[in-house]
Symmetry: none
Subunit: 208 residues, 4 copies
């Protein structure tokens, strides 16, 4: 599973470049990020960059892909039926904490994800869009499942999913810009407080 040292060194180099690029992209935006700035930050020569990445957009894509992989690993279907699984609220909270944690831990990445909406790199933009669409679809399915079992109040799942995803993004954006952000636990608490109340059936929120 491990490669020979040469292979390892190559991967290390790649990571180094990606890290440098991530910061530059975050600070200057896609267009504002010049290859110059990236190679300076990565302490490599111009040609070396093109040895590891085909183009500027290729690094951008790689960064996005990696992040999306990490996020996907943290966001999963919430198991409602499985009695051996923790209760849905707990699952939700755990996933949200893990997700927000990951993003907020890496400010540069967070900036990228939040602000890279409209890059001229159509590919990357579309992929980012796809990622959010995927997450939204996940939420839609969760809502629909909840609807069926009466957990979720009657609503238009697509719209509500968009609203929920938006609220998460809104909060993350706040954290990214904040000087000293509140602890993630608290943030997620509020997020869940608002979301669940906004979504759950009244019979659940105020039972009896």
């Amino acid at each position: 599973m491990t490669q020979d040292p040469a292979e390892r060194a190559k991967l290390e180099r790649r990571r180094q470049i990606m890290k440098a690029a991530k910061h530059v992209f975050a600070e200057a935006g896609y267009h504002g990020a010049s290859i110059n700035a990236i190679i300076e930050r990565a302490q490599i020569a111009r040609g070396t960059f093109y040895l590891y990445f085909e183009s500027k957009s290729a690094v951008f894509d790689s960064i996005l892909d990696q992040a999306m992989g990490e996020l996907r690993a943290r966001i999963q279907r919430i198991e409602v039926d499985d009695p051996s699984a923790p209760p849905p609220q707990v699952q939700l909270r755990e996933q949200l904490v893990a997700t927000v944690d990951y993003i907020v831990e890496d400010r540069a990445l967070a900036t990228l994800l939040m602000k890279a909406g409209h890059t001229p790199d159509a590919d990357a933009a579309q992929r980012l869009g796809q990622f959010f669409a995927d997450v939204r679809a996940l939420i839609v399915r969760a809502l629909e499942a909840g609807l069926e079992i009466g957990l979720v109040r009657k609503c238009h799942p697509d719209l509500v999913a968009a609203a929920l995803l938006g609220s998460v993004r809104g909060v993350i954006e706040l954290l990214v810009d904040a000087e000293d952000p509140p602890p993630v636990e608290e943030v997620v608490g509020e997020l869940i407080g608002v979301s669940l109340r906004g979504v759950l059936a009244d019979s659940i929120t105020r039972p009896r």
Copy 2:
């Protein structure tokens, strides 16, 4: 109220250029929008553009400023104390409808507003940021007022405001990308459904 014809023609020209630019910006992003594309779309000569705008960033600024002006006119403090004013929920709904309506009416503009987060036009980016910060502050104040009179449940107003604003943006983004979006009334209905439930004190939502 109207000026002399020459003045009118000039304003008309300005509008024409701004309209063309708005579409190009929406399609290609700030950087991807070339003066070339703008003047082609506006059917004017290169020099003419610079007769009406100092620079590329100047048009961008103008477009943003105009839009933000329109939006500010639609988003105001919600009067709670004034007995002659409509009930707060109605005010909220009316403002939301007016706002979402305005944005969704103009898809290009909406795209701009939603995606112009990180332009190299620092000035515009900052102003847009300020605009959203202003709106968020408005929501924060509303929440705080609600908290005082027990209308709003105990919460961290800054975070909740960010979540609410985010949910509105999330929904608008959905509408912008949607093939055939649902009627604004319905959208706003869901938005309010989620937001109020998420925010109001339980004693209000489920009065005994």
Copy 3:
């Protein structure tokens, strides 16, 4: 000899434009002088300018021509043989005083004349060059005449003429840039002091 009032008005307009242009040219150089600056200073509309002058270089040419005309009128052959004429030194002094006076009186014009060596207006540059060549030729002829009658010491007239003309230009340049220039009389005195001494035959300067 006088024209109808309309004609007069036209000429007046021309003069007005030339005056404005002269100042702008002096301040900004040929290239730096924009039609914009000229018409603003002349308080006329863009089109009006082109009613009176074919092009930017045309005004420049006119200004130069006029000045060169005035200068030519002040610089003439020095009569040596004519007994009814004032002595040569007096003629020289008078011409120099008149010339320097005229130039220094009009700082803008002086700046133009001194610094317009290499304008992209090839025509004007060449004409200015011709003017100076003419003056130099005049000096050469004066020197040759002086040589013949033993007034001037043996020398290479072309070179000496160039040196003399250069010294006049050097002094004028100094005056143009000076805060409070010395009186022209004094300036010309020094100029003649240097030039004559440098040129006259020793038998004349220090007669036994």
Copy 4:
């Protein structure tokens, strides 16, 4: 004393560009000189130019700086008191010969120096002005020293210095434009002939 080959090549490139630029500037003036023309003459690509010089004005400045350095090295204080130094006239002649030689050797440079009076590159224009002002100051000091020891006749040093510097420039200008210029030795001879006579005290020129 020599650097590694890469460094040498870079300096060579720089020189090559400066040489090309010098000719273009001389032929077309500062404004008329387009980057296009420069790179065509230097046989390099557009980007290469900007690899070696920040801007058009930067090359111009470099050319001027280099020339001024060379000239300053040739123009020095004339030692009057030091008995081991050659007599002042000889020093003067040597310096003048070296200076005029250097300028006339490089026609393009000479044209630049003589005609670049009024560039829109304020920096360069000012620097050139400063250079001539420096030289003039040098002459003024020499004259004042001469005055004190009775070598120079009573005169207004500033004016006379301007005249002397002007005469040198006048002569150089002649040489630059001349088809087949006379030998520098002769030129300098005349220059000194005129200048010294014009400046020295009568008791020196015609002793006894």
